[in-house]
């Protein structure tokens, strides 16, 4: 069982504010799911390489130029910002002088 304190810590890392009731709910639900996931401890993983992708991937290199396939209207994107100035997303300065 994970503690309430742990739930609060995870919520902080995930940047989601939770109400007290939600914290209790998540404590129960996440504990139940984690108990189930514990099952993986039965598998012998000695000398097994972790697998992050199912097909072999190679690094893709390309010249640093505009990709002709990708055309989009910048304004169509920026006009969806909650607050903007010119073509920039406007937020509060987060680095103090």
């Amino acid at each position: 069982m994970i503690s309430k304190k742990q739930v609060k810590h995870i919520a902080k890392l995930a940047k989601i504010s939770l109400k007290e009731k939600e914290i209790e709910k998540f404590q129960k639900e996440l504990s139940k799911i984690l108990d189930y996931i514990e099952k993986l401890k039965e598998v012998d993983i000695e000398n097994v390489e972790p697998m992050s992708h199912s097909v072999l991937l190679e690094n893709v290199m390309r010249t640093d130029e505009k990709i002709s396939e990708f055309v989009f209207d910048k304004e169509k994107l920026t006009e969806q910002f909650s607050h903007k100035e010119d073509n920039f997303l406007k937020v509060k300065k987060i680095i103090q002088e």
Binding site: L34, L40, V43, V91
Partner: protein
Amino acid sequence: MNFENLTIEKIREGLFKKEFSAKEICQYFLEKIKKEDKKIGAFLEITEDLAKEQAEKIDQMVLQKRELPPLAGVPCAIKDNILVKGVKCTAGSKILENFIAPYDATVVRKLKEAGAIILGKTNLDEFAMGSSTENSAFFPTRNPLDLEKVPGGSSGGSAAAVSANFCIFALGSDTGGSVRQPASFCKIVGLKPTYGAVSRFGLIAFASSLDQIGPMTKTVSDCEVVFKIIKGKDRLDSTSVEPKIKEEEFKIENLKIGIPKEYFGEGIEKRVKEEIKKAILKYEKVGAKIVEISLPLTEYALPCYYIIAPAEASSNLARYDGLRYGLKNVPQLSSLRDFWEAYFKNRRNFGKEVKRRIMLGTFVLSAGYYEAYYLRAQKVRRKIAKDFEKAFQKVNVIFTPTSPTLPFKLGERISDPLKMYFSDLLTVAVSLAGLPAISIPISDLPVGLQIIGKHFAEKEILKVAKIYDDL
């Protein structure tokens, strides 16, 4: 004109012979949706103008006697986590409620170029997280075959739209079974291609090492046509590949079908097992060899998936801060504290299941737990993939049920997350291994047969699936 039993082939023929116009088809389906979708809830948005414009283009081509592209005049629906330029794309979430796609996903561009008519965007579990489409932030979708039941998920809107004949085909996305399971529940065909076979550019990411877009259709032939159009390497998705496929002559006498005993054990409904066994028998009768095989890691696929998928999701969904993607009524920020407050508050707009997975993913990646959970899961994932590799040395394809149960009632599992996760029991291993699999309807009951192939063996599993259509 009766448009109830149209296929891609029939539409091409009809347009060519001038039996009907693209405009007539388009009008018929738009009206049908407007009349009948209220009780089903397959669509989140109807793209009437876009559809009519495309139909007009096709009719012009017919008039000018130009060669018609392969999907000319074919009405389709797109899952609402795939971008269609100028159309809202919500991913079933409040946090993207007002987001308008600034460009087309590669698959959408390909469909448009092939002449398909996009009728609208379909409902889904929020960010494709769920197995019943009840997690949509807007409304649940109902199963057209039985309105009390769920259509499956997360591509439940797409599956319902095809099943209710609101369109000829739809696109869905599959991370742990989200194309195959709803296809099974709605008695249609659903293909999850090999990881990398179809470009993910313009698909709103859930778990990037697992997500694939796939066609959902009424027939296997239509599925093949749509797959051929959407597949292929795309410069905009560096994980997409153009596979070299060996042309091998296909003979049913040479076909070896593997039946993994682990997929017929505990937790699988009796009626499902019976129907699948009947289907296997049919294949045996026409000459295929049935081989019992073992995939010993099967029981670990689900817990493995529920570490890896949420981990990737928690990282992918970090971008939704509520500031950039069209969330309305965000107050002006006047101080630094406001900024963080807004950030934390905006993310409250995620639904329950999405929050749960973000929390779970954040936990398994957090300091002190990473090795015990995430790294361990990645190692188990390799063992699961090896299981399949070994099996495919003995057989050409593997048959299993798609879903452990028949469609369940709305509300039946929604309050028990773990119970809902068990809906994915038979589809997640395939996703972890990146293999292609198709679900086809095989019974009067909504039971799907899952046919699994080797990497990039889509052609082979489509051929095997077609045999059933011809039986």
